[in-house]
Subunit: 475 residues, 2 copies
């Protein structure tokens, strides 16, 4: 059991080692960038999905599922969109032994799969808003280096698509989505910024894009998701019209909200430490692991107590694992720490006699739970663990940002930077060159680090209409 690489000094190596050692993903599948969801990784993914489903259904979306394959003819209807994806889609050209008349694209995202049908579903203002989501796999022929969860060729994907009566209603939906994401992120313990991407970096076909970015150490950020406002950019080409109250035919305004398995990558990257993964309670494949400590003469009592604890917690709805294997306790502790289980309950001779268990959370905080009040004691411990996890993440989040007043300060930065920006594309590209990364955009919501506006554009020095913008090296 070798040590993990140092997280600060060799972040990517550390990340890959944690994903492998915690058995979250198996990347030995013979297609590059298409990985196997292991039983443990899939448990975490199902938890993530449940949180997403809860929050998106709370704002009125209904689950649907469109086919995986999109005819080339439909795929090609929105020009900007196709240009954005042309080089990174997989093509199905043969069915059985014969060439297909119309080649099929493996969906990279589902606008072009859904919108011809939206044109059938939407007839009248009474059909609006239409808000549907699906959780499906999407496919991108990535040419960059792939990494489990954060850049893969088959992606576990969440996408909401809505049709709205007008621009204002669509803008409201964008903000409902942002609030829904804030609730998900609270469960995941992930601090982030919602940033409106500069025009040259928006989603192919969008009027504008708001991305949800999290710092993951140094100048690096991870895009956790996006919310897009399409206006009429797709409803025009796909003919999604409705009869308004006044009898006129109007095009719908559309929005989308996209998330993916990247969230799991973000959770590993942001919460993990020198001992391995750390899962927030809401996502943890197991919330609690119970480890009996064998003791001469006390075996049966210890095992009985460990079983009682396991069964009672399970009955209380907890995800709990009893590790009764014959390894030494230290090896078990090491493994479950690596796998990020929030709370370990140890039961030895003394604990069994006293009807207690020693509780050690993933950060090492130690205490005792009493079997008399097991369920509530464990709930308290898990709440405390989650609070610690959020505080640690929040502290690191705040320490990840620093302002910069000159382009020179952006070079070799050890933080994500925020700078004054006049909004001009030329200045934006200067900033990007200086940080050797990207201008992620301007805050869509309250900017947590500064109350007033910046003094001047860091690139051209202009002082009027200057806003804060965030510059980083997105991975």
């Amino acid at each position: 059991m070798a040590d993990l690489p140092d997280k600060d000094a060799a972040f990517i190596d550390w990340y890959l080692a944690v994903v492998e050692a915690a058995d979250l993903s198996d990347k030995r599948y013979p297609v590059k960038g298409m990985n196997i969801w292991t039983a443990y990784g899939l448990r975490a993914r199902r938890r993530l999905d449940q949180v997403m489903i809860r929050e998106i259904e709370a704002i009125g979306s209904e689950a649907v599922e469109f086919p995986t394959l999109i005819p080339e003819t439909d795929f090609a209807k929105e020009k900007e969109h196709v240009k954005g994806f042309d080089a990174q889609v997989y093509w199905v050209t043969r069915g059985g032994l014969t060439p297909l008349d119309v080649p099929l694209v493996l969906r990279p995202t589902s606008e072009t799969a859904m919108y011809p049908t939206f044109a059938l579903w939407v007839r009248s203002h009474k059909d609006l808003p239409l808000a549907v989501y699906q959780i499906v796999n999407t496919f991108r022929y990535e040419t960059k280096t792939t990494r489990p969860f954060v850049r893969v060729r088959e992606i576990h994907f969440f996408e909401e698509h809505t049709c709205q009566v007008d621009d204002a209603a669509a803008t409201r939906r964008v903000h409902e989505n942002l609030r829904a994401f804030a609730k998900m992120a609270a469960d995941f313990g992930l601090p982030y910024l919602a940033l409106r991407r500069p025009d040259w970096d928006k989603f192919a076909g969008a009027a504008y894009s708001v991305a949800l970015d999290a710092p993951i150490g140094g100048p690096r950020t991870l895009q956790l998701g996006t919310v897009h406002h399409y206006r009429e950019n797709f409803s025009g080409p796909y003919g999604i019209r409705y009869e308004a109250v006044d009898g006129t035919q109007k095009l719908v305004h559309q929005t989308t909200f996209g998330l993916s398995e990247r969230l799991l990558g973000g959770i590993v990257a942001i919460h993990g430490d020198a001992k391995g993964a750390v899962f927030p309670v809401a996502v943890a494949p197991f919330e609690v692991v119970v480890v009996p400590i064998p003791a001469a003469g006390a075996g049966p009592a210890v095992n009985a107590a460990a079983s009682e604890i396991t069964e009672r917690l399970r009955a209380a709805g907890r995800r709990v694992r009893l590790d009764a294997g014959d390894e030494r306790p230290g090896a078990k502790y090491y493994r479950w720490e690596l796998k990020g289980v929030p709370l370990r309950l140890e039961v030895g001779r003394r604990e069994a006699a006293e009807r207690t268990a020693t509780a050690v959370d993933r950060f090492g905080a130690k205490g005792t739970v009493r079997l008399d009040s097991l369920e509530s004691d464990v709930a308290t411990r898990l709440d405390e663990f989650d609070r610690t996890l959020r505080e640690r993440a929040e502290t690191r989040f705040r320490a990840s940002f620093a302002p910069a007043a000159t382009l020179a300060e952006l070079a070799h930065s050890d933080r994500v930077r925020y700078v004054g920006w006049c909004g001009a594309e030329a200045c934006g590209h200067e900033i990007e060159r200086a940080i050797d990364g990207a201008l992620l955009g301007t805050p869509e919501e309250r900017f947590p680090f500064e109350t007033g506006p910046p003094a001047r554009c860091i690139a051209c020095g202009v002082e009027r209409d200057v806003r804060w913008a965030v510059a980083a090296q997105p991975i």
Copy 2:
């Protein structure tokens, strides 16, 4: 709102009309045989999945997910298997703008995706049994006419794959799977027979296949699922070996258990009637629909009672829908009957005043529930509905079968037939020609219609070692 076609006289037309009118699937997607899961259909599918997950995890399987695309090189390793699927797979030949070095197959089933990795996962007898399942979409380039849920080109699929120490352990797993299916089928209210397919009709690569067949009217049957015993047919080519207790290297014996969205087709086909779909409680997208009956002067009281009922049932964990739209009540009754909701609660002026609701189940059984005991009264009604549903299905199941003593009786049969069969392939094919269908095989479990063996083979007349076999027209 036109009437549905007659179920007995025009079964397929009736089936297609119910699927469309109940809005379970939208087949207007522009790729033939790839249909859209509507919100309502997907709710039913999620329920089905939950039942499958519950029963398969109860027998120790863990969820995993393998990639959708399989390299041609891996796909081609087991010769019989490839021969079985060669003509019905989709091929990905291009990524972005360039041809792929190794073409990729869209999985028609996942043996060839999983087994190269199983060879890495299984090392020792301590790793066995390995039992994993996944719920994913699979793809088949069907050339026959496609039908929603029962024959589609993108299939919502459940597949368990296990590795066992030897033939006996694998045989035990086959029977554990059959028992697990029996529990699922009880929730679905689906009577069926488990039939061991004749050798010429087993799964490509299997040592033997047991299929789960349900009669769906006349001589027709629907295959709901399959359990296969592979012996060493795949572990040989894919090199899945383990070190046995005695230190020798052995090949694992493998089994698989496959189910799909066909179950939903079966539920529609078997339970549906002249009024539309009928869902068993376990699968129903909504268990209860609440319909307020507007009455002059009593509007607020009626609406308040309807809301109270809805909220209390929801709080009790019921899937309930309040239909407070401004259509007339009759139109609502018609729609929710079409959509197969088990129980309707009507609340009018009298009911609101008496704190009751009129309960009408999908079969028309009428009664009263009291708000004082709403939750338990509704539970009782739903149990009664489910009992009726099972009895009706069981009665029709028994009436669907008849023995036949001569090949002539098989022609133009109005039932599924069971006949004496000596086991010879030539006789089997004679039977198949006579019924213009297939010999589905011999009962793997107790045969419910006959206690003794048949007198002779219906084809050759031989009297020794003759077994009952089922002949039908599978759709």
